[in-house]
């Protein structure tokens, strides 16, 4: 049996970012990657590195997200120099458009709550009126009346990020094991064994980052990860000259020129089929924001499943019963990649999660339902 310092289960963005950070810290690490038969949110996501709407009522989440966005430039630069892969990170700030007075008032109230909740950490935002927006965004539709803006938001190419993390992990001595669905796992403190792809490997530490698969895996390690799928659909236009200078919550133009439209949310179980009614709604709202989008052809569209904890916040835990076993779950594998590689991985390597991550423990969800 091959022995490692750490095994990471899950080769998506969460697992790959942590595995990369572990290998960089000098651990001998194995990354078990189920492959493209997995639901793998990492190949279907929108590509925002997004801060402004994360953590209303949960300042620890707001802070963690901001920290991750702050780690992003260093991570992107490091991945470029170590792997030669540009992950296309840009941080020009981001906008959330509002189409009527009620939306705008609700958005303003939320941004102000988040500023208050941020305390000393601070939260810079601005509400822009239509005139300011029209100067910033060419061809803004008459339906848009205002927007919220923060300087923290940005975007990146998520497929390049996944590729770069895998390549960087291997170059730092990690072993990437593709097409390896975990079939058996046994836990003893400091001695974890996993059977996958026909072989057994063991390690003193194990990180469960299997996305939706964590729900079934976690209990075997004395942990809990009650995550559920939340479907999102995305439409992609043909490539166009650079027109949008910064990303919006539901619309962004990639470095290559395509314009991505998205952000639907459907509770549809493990179904990844596309529904024309939802696609129509995405397209209609996009054209309300920018009528010139009407001329562009849609060249691709897909549905993918977000990994959603019951309260929408990430889950990070170390097992009390089997120390050395960790969970990491979230629906923002792109945004949180900076934190996972640069902040969380060193904690796992050191064998202890920072106390500031305590509120992310799944124990918060162990509340008996009201009768």
């Amino acid at each position: 049996m091959e022995h490692y310092d750490a095994i990471v289960i899950g080769g998506g963005l969460v697992g790959s970012a942590i595995a990369y950070g572990l290998a960089r810290a000098g651990l001998k690490a194995a990354l078990l990657d189920e492959g493209d038969v997995a639901f793998r949110a990492s190949r279907g996501n929108f590509g925002l590195v997004w801060v402004q709407s994360k953590g209303d009522g949960a300042p620890h989440y707001q802070r963690w997200t901001r920290q991750s966005a702050d780690e992003w430039p260093a991570l992107a630069e490091e991945l470029l120099s170590k792997t030669g892969i540009a992950v296309g990170h840009h941080r020009p700030g981001g906008l959330h458009l509002c189409l009527d007075e009620a939306e705008l008032a609700a958005r303003h109230a939320m941004m102000e709550r988040m500023r208050t909740q941020s305390g000393n950490f601070g939260f810079d935002y601005r509400m822009l009126d239509r005139r300011e927006l029209a100067d910033l965004l060419p061809g803004l539709g008459p339906a848009v009346i205002g927007a919220s803006w923060t300087p923290y938001d940005g975007h990146a190419n998520p497929l390049n990020l996944l590729h770069a993390l895998h390549k960087g992990f291997v170059e730092k001595g990690g072993r990437h094991i593709p097409n390896s669905t975990v079939t058996e796992a046994t836990a003893a403190s400091g001695d974890f064994r996993v059977r996958a792809a026909g072989g057994e490997i063991g390690a003193a530490k194990i990180v469960l980052a299997a996305g939706l698969g964590n729900a079934a895996l976690a209990p075997r390690f004395g942990l809990s990860a009650p995550v559920k799928p939340l479907k999102g659909q995305i439409l992609v236009t043909e490539r166009a000259c650079e027109t949008l200078p910064l990303p919006l919550t539901t619309i962004r133009q990639t470095a290559e020129g395509t314009i991505m439209l998205g952000d639907s949310q459907e509770d549809a179980g493990f179904d990844t089929s596309q529904r024309p009614a939802v696609m129509q709604t995405i397209a209609r709202r996009a054209v309300l924001a920018f009528p010139w989008l009407r001329d562009l052809q849609i060249v691709r569209a897909w549905a993918a499943l977000r990994v959603m904890p019951p309260d929408g916040l990430p889950i990070y835990d170390q097992s009390e019963r089997f120390p050395g076993a960790f969970t990491a779950n979230c629906h923002s594998g792109v945004t949180l990649a900076g934190a996972h590689a640069n902040l969380l991985a060193p904690m796992v390597a050191a064998g202890m999660l920072d106390p500031t991550l305590e509120p992310f423990s799944a124990r918060r969800l162990d509340v008996p339902a009201a009768v």
């Binding site: 061809g139 043909e238 010139w292 562009l296």
Partner: protein
């Protein structure tokens, strides 16, 4: 580089490729018209690389052209019509944002 097969139908549909007049058979694709007109490339990618039609069956998107002022059309999937104006697609298409 390309020439019509000896049994090809008579070239009876008149189109222009980059303003150059050329006749091709009924049922030919716009991509075939560009090839018949003798161009070295049918488009330049957004990254500035030259491309020729490749799969000729609607899959690879390498044969994008502007047809009658509509950019980024898959020319292998478009049948020629009399008077069709075909232009090479140079880079990403333009957008037309109008002040609202």
């Amino acid at each position: 580089m390309f020439r019509p097969r000896s049994e090809a139908r008579r070239p009876s549909v008149a189109v222009t490729v980059e303003g150059r007049r050329i006749a091709v058979p009924v049922g030919a694709s716009a991509a075939a018209a560009v090839l018949a007109a003798g161009f070295d490339s049918i488009r330049e990618t957004a990254g500035g690389r030259e491309r020729m039609p490749f799969c000729m069956m609607g899959v690879c998107f390498d044969c994008l052209v502007e047809i009658d002022d509509v950019p980024n059309r898959q020319s292998c999937m478009v049948e020629v019509r009399d008077g069709m104006r075909i232009r090479r697609q140079i880079g990403a298409r333009r957008t037309h944002p109008v002040a609202g």
